[in-house]
């Protein structure tokens, strides 16, 4: 709906925007290639450090790139990216759906590819001139001189000559994908210090742990453990569970209520009518993304300072994350509604808020409820560990017993009891919320 309106207002955007729009995937493809080569360079340096520097030079040191070394790395990876694109096979081209062909839409000969690569440098150095040519609608220097051009794959799919199809693992994508995953696996194995010998060698030492964990002791299920605290909610398993559930409930309700109006501000089809709406949309979406990217435990740290240790801090921490997460889910739901009823209501001359109230709200209520239930589920699970930073709930007693291992008797049995209770509650809520969600959607 919004798109058709836009088009009717201005026939075609200015040619600068057209030129930039064509250039965008090319720029992103180049950046992606550069980043992936940079990643490979990082990995190579890491492996050099691990297999050569630590072994032959200095075990306690780390191989660091000298200050003069950065320039060749940065430029070299860039050159590699450009070379890959001129060769016509690269991750960026493949992901952004670009194809390097001659202007006659045939595969370029190696000489033309080499020419393109060399001319690219001239063109990059004369960037100001190139941007003027771009605005004038002329082709870029390296495109023109080599007689090649980047096409969008979907435009030229019919025209390009068919090559013999290869098995996916011999295709460019497959090879690069397997190569990158294998390389990442290698570097990741070393970085995260995976030590299977340790895992299996110490397995026998963890037997006592498992033995205690599977023999839970429900001593303090409903009776207060004075070592942990003096309140029912803080110092018993049952109280902690109830508190966790209510923390999650309050956070979900509060978060949902706040996310509800925000989600309409973050929906493109509601806000995308004018510049102001677009700004509000972008700001709301950015807010969602920023606040969603920080886990609620980290928010717990801030709120423990703000309102003091306790369940309330946990509630607030969960709420912040819930607002962002639900806001995103809600607004995506609003964006995917059927525009038919909206247009029908708008055609009766209704105001914008009336359109939203009668056209949008009835369509989104069931899925909003389902998302909220789903979120409650997640919040219950999060609230079991938010006590780690002083957020209250069942985690309080869990982490007390865990930290008291060796200090008090059968603490692992107590931990086991808490974990069993968490499993039962989370499981039950999961089941109930899944059933209820099935019903309402």
């Amino acid at each position: 709906m919004e798109k058709t309106r836009k088009r009717s207002r201005s026939a075609r955007p200015h040619r600068i925007w057209c030129a930039l729009g064509d250039l965008k995937p090319r720029a992103f493809a180049l950046l992606l290639d550069w980043a992936s080569w940079g990643y490979v360079a990082y990995g190579v340096i890491y492996l050099l450090n691990h297999y050569w520097y630590k072994v032959h030079v200095n075990y306690y040191g780390t191989l660091t790139v000298p200050s003069w070394g950065w320039l060749p790395i940065v430029l070299g990876t860039f050159e590699l990216a450009v070379l890959g694109q001129a060769a016509g096979q690269s991750l960026g081209l493949s992901l952004f759906g670009l194809k390097l062909l001659t202007t006659a839409r045939d595969y370029p000969r190696p000489a033309a590819r080499l020419g393109r690569f060399l001319w690219w440098h001239v063109s990059a150095l004369s960037f100001p001139i190139q941007s003027v040519r771009l605005v004038q609608g002329k082709s870029l220097l390296h495109d023109g001189m080599s007689g090649t051009c980047m096409f969008a794959l979907k435009e030229v799919k019919q025209d390009i000559p068919v090559r013999k199809p290869r098995r996916w693992y011999f295709s460019f994508r497959g090879l690069v994908g397997i190569g990158l995953i294998a390389f990442t696996f290698w570097v990741g194995w070393l970085t995260t210090k995976i030590d299977l010998g340790m895992l299996f060698g110490r397995a026998s030492r963890s037997v006592y742990l498992w033995k205690d964990l599977v023999r839970p002791s429900f001593e303090h299920f409903a009776t207060i453990d004075p070592r942990v605290g003096d309140t029912f909610w803080g110092a018993t398993i049952l109280g902690g569970l109830i508190q966790s559930i209510y923390m999650a409930l309050l956070a979900t309700l509060l978060g949902g209520v706040i996310a509800l109006p925000l989600s309409f501000l973050g929906a493109r089809n509601i806000m995308g009518f004018n510049a102001l709406g677009w700004i509000v949309y972008t700001v709301t979406r950015a807010f969602f993304n920023v606040f969603r990217s920080i886990e609620s435990i980290l928010w717990g740290v801030v709120f423990a300072v703000w309102v003091g240790f306790g369940a309330f801090a946990g509630v607030l921490a969960l709420t912040i994350h819930t607002i962002a997460a639900l806001g995103k889910l809600y607004s995506e739901q609003v964006e995917s509604i059927d525009p038919g009823p909206l247009e029908a209501i708008a055609a009766t001359g209704a105001r914008r808020w009336q359109v939203v109230l009668y056209g949008v709200v009835p369509q989104v209520v069931p899925s909003f409820l389902a998302f909220s239930l789903y979120r409650w589920d997640i919040n219950v699970r999060m609230s079991t560990v938010i006590a780690l930073v002083g957020g209250g709930g069942i985690g309080q007693i869990l982490f007390y017993y865990k930290n008291a291992v060796g200090l008090i008797k059968n603490s692992w049995n107590q931990v086991g009891a808490v974990v069993v209770c968490i499993v039962v509650v989370v499981w039950a809520l999961d089941y109930i919320s899944a059933r209820v969600r099935e019903r309402i959607t």
Binding site: Q243, V307, G308, I422
Partner: protein, 407 residues
């Protein structure tokens, strides 16, 4: 309920089974209502005790509460539409599907004491007709079969009950979690320092931060990688439509149960166990994420497997293909893209989880971040948070775009 065929020639369920199912449904409706009433009672008495008696005396239910709740439920279900009836979609109508009169409702309520409560009803129920149904001439039917004028929401008893439930829950939640508005508004000043420091991050630790960030991303990658390797075969064993017979079904239940137990324990708790097992570092963090990923991915994958299109599978089976060939050519092409997109999604979650698993000693950037916050060096913590935000945002955006292309 969809029409199912039993033993080839019977179109309807055997009567014994259908009356058993009917009974189960009615008992569920009844239990939901009793629990709802008891819950409101309990929470309301807790709130009143806390608010007016300042927590003196124990908030609990007297033994006769259960009798009152059962009677109230019976009355409620006979006179109106209860929560349970709304949830399980049943209604009470007259035999000739008209609107029941008050007298009939009351007759049903009274006879119910004889037949419903002592569960004689179950025995007396032949074809879903208990004594109280016969005596009053009323029937419990599915709400789809009833057409009636809709009353406004606020005039329906189930809605009022839901509102009461929500209100009582909010009040209880506020009391249990110790909501403190005064602290919320007066304490805001205490965090001024934190926000100010977050706005001026300390860039001197940027190099260290990036290094740890890479460790975090690799942790997530390794956990996801191992998780996929294990979850793919497990998901076939956990898909209801692919497991059958004397071996398959127990395996299905075993895998499903184990996975949902593992999944309901947060990775942080797994990390604690693995740290005791191995030692502090990134490796136990990887293991914790891995264990949780396996369980989560198995669930996602197997749900996807359960919804595959059986057409191609049957077509390939009809050509006389072996079980392996059926899986390879009938199932795999259908699931590759969804599996990839689930994997990306899980990697995304793992990166976010990996940033906090360091709090208990699981390595990565979270460990350093938690150290800084414990020392109240907020500007350093701010740098770390910025890095985390940037990474999570990029991952989130990238994986969303990729998933869009995959689907």
């Amino acid at each position: 309920m969809e029409e199912r065929y039993y033993a080839g020639f019977m179109k309807k369920r055997p009567q014994f089974m259908s009356s058993l199912l009917e009974t189960r449904k009615r008992v569920t409706v009844f239990l939901v209502d009793v629990v709802a009433i008891l819950y409101v009672w309990l929470t309301a008495s807790y709130c009143l005790t806390m608010l007016f008696l300042h927590g003196e005396g124990v908030a609990g239910l007297p033994w006769w509460a259960i009798i009152v709740a059962v009677e109230a439920t019976a009355l409620w279900e006979n006179l109106g539409v209860s929560i349970g009836m709304k949830l399980l979609r049943v209604r009470l109508v007259a035999k000739d599907s008209g609107s029941p009169t008050l007298v009939r409702r009351l007759v049903r309520f009274l006879v119910w004491h004889v037949s419903g409560l002592p569960l004689i009803g179950i025995l007396a129920m032949s074809g879903g007709l208990a004594w109280h149904d016969r005596a009053s001439g009323l029937r419990v039917v599915r709400s789809e079969e009833v057409s009636r004028v809709r009353r406004p929401l606020y005039a329906q008893s189930w809605f009022i009950a839901v509102a009461l439930l929500v209100l009582a829950s909010i009040a209880t939640a506020m009391l249990v979690t110790g909501v403190n508005f005064r602290a919320f508004f007066s304490g805001a000043g205490k965090t001024a320092r934190i926000w100010a420091a977050f706005l001026r991050p300390d860039w001197s630790i940027l190099g260290d931060g990036i290094r740890l960030l890479l460790v975090t991303i690799f942790m997530a990658f390794m956990a996801t990688f191992f998780g996929v390797v294990l979850a793919v075969p497990l998901s076939f064993a956990a898909a209801r439509n692919l497991t059958g017979g004397w071996i398959g079904r127990p395996v299905y239940f075993l895998v499903r149960t184990t996975m949902s137990i593992i999944r309901s324990i947060e990775p942080i708790i797994w990390a604690i166990i693995f740290i005791v097992w191995i030692k502090v570092g990134a490796f136990p963090g990887v293991l914790a994420l891995f264990v949780h990923s396996v369980a989560d991915l198995t669930k996602l994958y197997s749900e996807r497997l359960e919804s595959i299109d059986p057409g191609p599978v049957e077509a390939i089976r009809a050509t006389g293909a072996t079980q392996l060939q059926v899986i390879l050519h009938g199932i795999v092409p259908q699931i590759v893209n969804p599996f990839l997109s689930f994997t990306l999604y899980r990697w995304d979650i793992n990166v976010r989880m990996a940033t906090i698993i360091g709090i208990v000693g699981g390595g990565g950037i979270g460990e350093r971040l938690y150290q800084y916050t414990s020392l109240w060096s907020w500007s350093k913590a701010g740098t770390m948070m910025l890095l985390i935000m940037l990474t999570v945002w990029v991952m989130d955006y990238g994986s969303a775009r990729l998933r869009e292309r995959l689907s």
